[in-house]
Structure formats: C-alpha cells, structure tokens
C-alpha cells in the first residue's frame, strides 16, 4: 500500500534559493516518497491548495530568506480553511534559534537548519509518519 508516502516540498514567499529544497526533494524521492515540488514564490493559499489537491501526508517548507513566522502562520491558517485537518509541517532553511519556539507553538513538528543531513530528515519523516498516519488524521470535525 502506498498510503502515507506523499510529501509536499514548497518554497513560500520571495525567497529565490531553491537548491536546498531540491536537494531535500531528491533525497526523499530516493527514500521512496512521492514528492510534489511546487517551485518558487508560492503564496500560503497556493501551498494549501497543493496540500489539499495532492492529499499530502506532510508539508516541508523551505525558508532561506526570513519571514518564517508570518509564512508559517499563513500556511497553517490556509490549510485549516481547506477542511483537510492539521497537516504536519516541517521547516528547513535558515531559521534563527530565537524563532524556533514560536514556530513550534504554531505547530511546526521539526525544524532543520542548514547543517541537517538528508539522513536526519528522512529518518524524522519516516518515524513521524509511521507514528501519525494521515489515514488517522482528524478531518471530520474541521
């Protein structure tokens, strides 16, 4: 069965650096995932639309140029409106340490800094998704 294998890799905002995102996308493909890559300059609503259309199990946001709090806030709000339930979010990129608690409060499951290896990321995704299968996500009440 292929349930629990779809990851959205998204580049929100004005940030034009996609090398990191593509690196992670390819690593996840190598690890057996179906990776939907959005390309650059996505709005929160476009990211939410992709997450819904593609029924992804997790959203991976790549943020290299700041604005992480407001970006994550808007993505969380936009996905909530779709009635898909709370889709788990991870964030990768250049995220100042002092911003991390706020991101965690918004519901981000894990933050990966520039030094994170693909192995770390894949291990996390694998164990998170097996512990929290999207088939059991609560979307009925939303």
């Amino acid at each position: 069965m292929h349930l629990g294998k779809r990851i959205l890799v998204a580049k929100p905002g004005l940030d034009g650096h996609d090398r990191g995102a593509l690196f992670v996308a390819r690593a996840l493909v190598e690890a057996g995932y179906e990776v939907i890559y959005t390309g650059l300059h996505q709005t929160a609503e476009q990211i939410a639309a992709a997450a819904v259309h593609e029924d992804v199990d997790m959203i991976a946001l790549s943020i290299m140029s700041g604005g992480e709090i407001s970006i994550v806030e808007r993505v969380v709000a936009a996905t909530k409106e779709t009635g898909a339930g709370a889709i788990p979010i991870i964030v990768g990129g250049v995220i100042p340490k002092q911003q991390r608690p706020a991101l965690q409060d918004l519901g981000v499951q894990r933050i990966f800094g520039p030094g994170a290896t693909s192995l770390e990321i894949i291990d996390f995704v694998r164990s998170y998704l097996s512990a929290h299968p999207s088939a059991e996500r609560d979307w009925q009440s939303s």
Binding site: M1, H2, L3, R6, A25, R26, L28, V29, E30, A31, G32, Y33, E34, V35, I36, Y37, T38, G39, H41, Q42, T43, E45, Q46, A49, A50, V52, H53, E54, D55, T82, G83, A84, W139, Q140
Partner: protein, 325 residues
C-alpha cells in the same frame, strides 16, 4: 459528514482523499467509486502527451486558463514515472502553475506510475472517473511521451493531443509506431524556432499514410457514419499564449465530431471493456500469486525454474491448476 457526503457536496478535500484511497486500492475508495460512478460521463477528457521539453506544462497551463475563461471547471491529472529502484517519484508538474490555483475552479493531481508497466498507473482511469463524477467539465490528462503511456491515455481520453517541438531533429522520424497515430490534434510548439515549418511539413507527409489508413477504417466501420477526422496541425508558442485558443477550438471541434459521427458511443464502449479486462487480469493474478506465496508454491516454482527443472510456462500453469483444473 463522512467522506461520501463531503464528496457529493463538492468538497475538494473529500475528492482528494477519495483519489488517494482509490489509487491505493483501498476498499473504502472502491465503495465510494461505486456510489458516485453514475454521476460521471459528462466531462470532456483530453489527453496531452509529447516528449519532455516540448512545452507541455506551459501549454497545459494556458489551455486550462482558456477553458476557465470559457466557463469550464478544469481538473488536471499529471502522470510521472515512479523509480523502479526506489519506489519514489518526483512530481514536479505543478511548478510554474501556481497562479492557476488561485482560482478554485482548477484542481490538479499528480500521479506516480507506481510500477505500472505502461507508464500510466492502473488507477489513473478511476481517478479520471472520480474527477468526472465530482463535476469537472474538462479533465486534462498529461503524460510523458516515453514508454507506452501515451498510447494508453488515448484509450481513456475523448481527444488526444500530441505536442512536438522543432529542434528535436529526427523526433518525428524516430517516433515509434503509436505515438503519432494516436493524435487527434497535433501541436508544433515553440513555433518561433527554426525548423518549425519543416516539422509541420514532415508531420503532414507522415500523416498522408495515416490518412489513408483512417479512411479505410472509416469505410469498414458499419456502425458510424463514413466520415473520418483529419487531425489538424496547430502551430503554437505556448510561452506567449499564441495558438492556444485555436487548440482549444480544435479540441471542442473533435468533441462535436465524436458526437455526430457515432464514435463517442464506440469509444465509451471500448473504454468500459478495456477497464474491465485490465481489472479482471490484475485481480485474478493477484489472487493466484497471493495464494502461491502463502503456501510456498511460488518459491518452489521459482527455484525449479532456476534449476531448469521446469520452464516458466509449465510453472505458471501449475500455479493456475488449483484454480482452473
């Protein structure tokens, strides 16, 4: 509300989850498909194929916009190959399409082939059915013109578009049997490049042979009228939106041709037959292999073949023998 109710009330999330379940062969997905199947049959299904680099994605984006402007709701299905080594797939067809989705009247789903040999996943036909049943007026199905997927898509679509571009040199010459034959509309994209007119000319020459075949088929066809469709060749520059309105017009015109010539009915029958045969084959094979795996017969036969104690045909017949004595 449960999934079925949300699907029926035009909730796109429910549509998406239904697609996931059907793709996975989940019984809940199949039950939902059964419930909504009768609602389908109204969408216009267009298959779009062509070599990578021909500009399909850009064309797709523009076509979707044109149909939206004309008042249709549009669903896009983008099919990409699954890696046979890792089981993963990079589904990048949404790139540069972002602005399309600011409009709720456009939906897009990326499908990985998931090991299906033809390139199109087994569930693709069912996914198209769900989109149709959900209520989309137009379903655009994009496949890459490698392998047999482009031939398959022509069996599921009403109208098939093949996109070519100049600068591929011998692309038309090298096109294997089937790729060119399936097109109802040809697009020579990047028509501003050198070689565009030459590409059109080559296509026209190639089509002369096809035209003769089609006329003969039409004459032998006693069920529909003896009119045949001559596939038009449209030059386009998708990046500038040039030619896209004309392509849309030709797609619609082909739809009229199907309806007035009686072909539509025959297509529909062929599609039903094709789906049924495919599904029966897969389900039967699965059952037989599952049992053989469980009772050790499969492993036993594999070893026997390796040791040359039996041949694959005899081994297969042996596995079938408990079901079909």
């Amino acid at each position: 509300m449960n999934l079925l109710d949300r699907f029926k009330s035009a909730d796109q999330w429910a549509l998406s989850r239904a697609i996931t379940l059907v793709e996975a062969g989940d019984p809940e997905g199949q039950a939902l498909l059964r419930e909504v199947y009768a609602r389908g049959g109204r969408a216009r299904i267009y298959g779009i194929t062509g070599m990578p680099g021909a500009g399909k994605s850009t064309l797709l984006r523009n076509l979707a916009s044109v149909f939206r402007r004309r008042g249709d709701s549009v669903a896009i299905v983008a099919c990409d190959p699954t890696s046979s080594f890792t089981g993963g797939a990079l589904l990048g067809d949404r790139v540069r399409m972002g602005a399309l989705f600011d409009d709720k009247g456009v939906f897009m789903r990326s499908l990985a082939s998931r090991g299906h040999l033809g390139g199109l996943s087994l569930a693709a036909a069912s996914v198209i059915t769900l989109l149709d049943a959900f209520g989309f007026n137009v379903v655009l199905v994009e496949t890459v013109g490698i392998g047999q997927s482009e031939v398959e898509i022509s069996e599921f679509a009403h109208t098939t578009l093949v996109v070519l571009s100049p600068g591929f040199g011998d692309e038309i010459q090298a096109s294997k049997a089937g790729v060119l034959e399936i097109a109802d509309v040809y697009v020579v994209n990047k028509a501003d490049l050198d070689g565009a007119d030459a590409a059109v000319k080559e296509l026209q020459e190639r089509l002369q042979f096809l035209g003769a075949n089609r006329a003969r088929d039409a004459a032998a066809d006693t069920e529909s009228s003896h009119v045949s469709w001559l596939p038009p060749i449209v030059k386009a520059i998708a990046t500038r939106g040039v030619g896209v309105e004309e392509i849309a017009d030709r797609l619609v015109a082909h739809g009229y041709f199907l309806a007035t010539s009686g072909r539509l009915k025959r297509q529909s029958r062929n599609r039903a037959e094709r789906q049924l045969r495919d599904l029966v084959s897969v389900l039967v094979a699965r059952k037989i292999i599952a049992r053989a795996e469980m009772n050790g017969d499969l492993e036993q036969m594999i070893e026997a073949i390796e040791a040359r104690e039996t041949d694959p045909y005899s081994a297969a017949r042996y596995l079938l023998s408990c079901w079909f004595p």
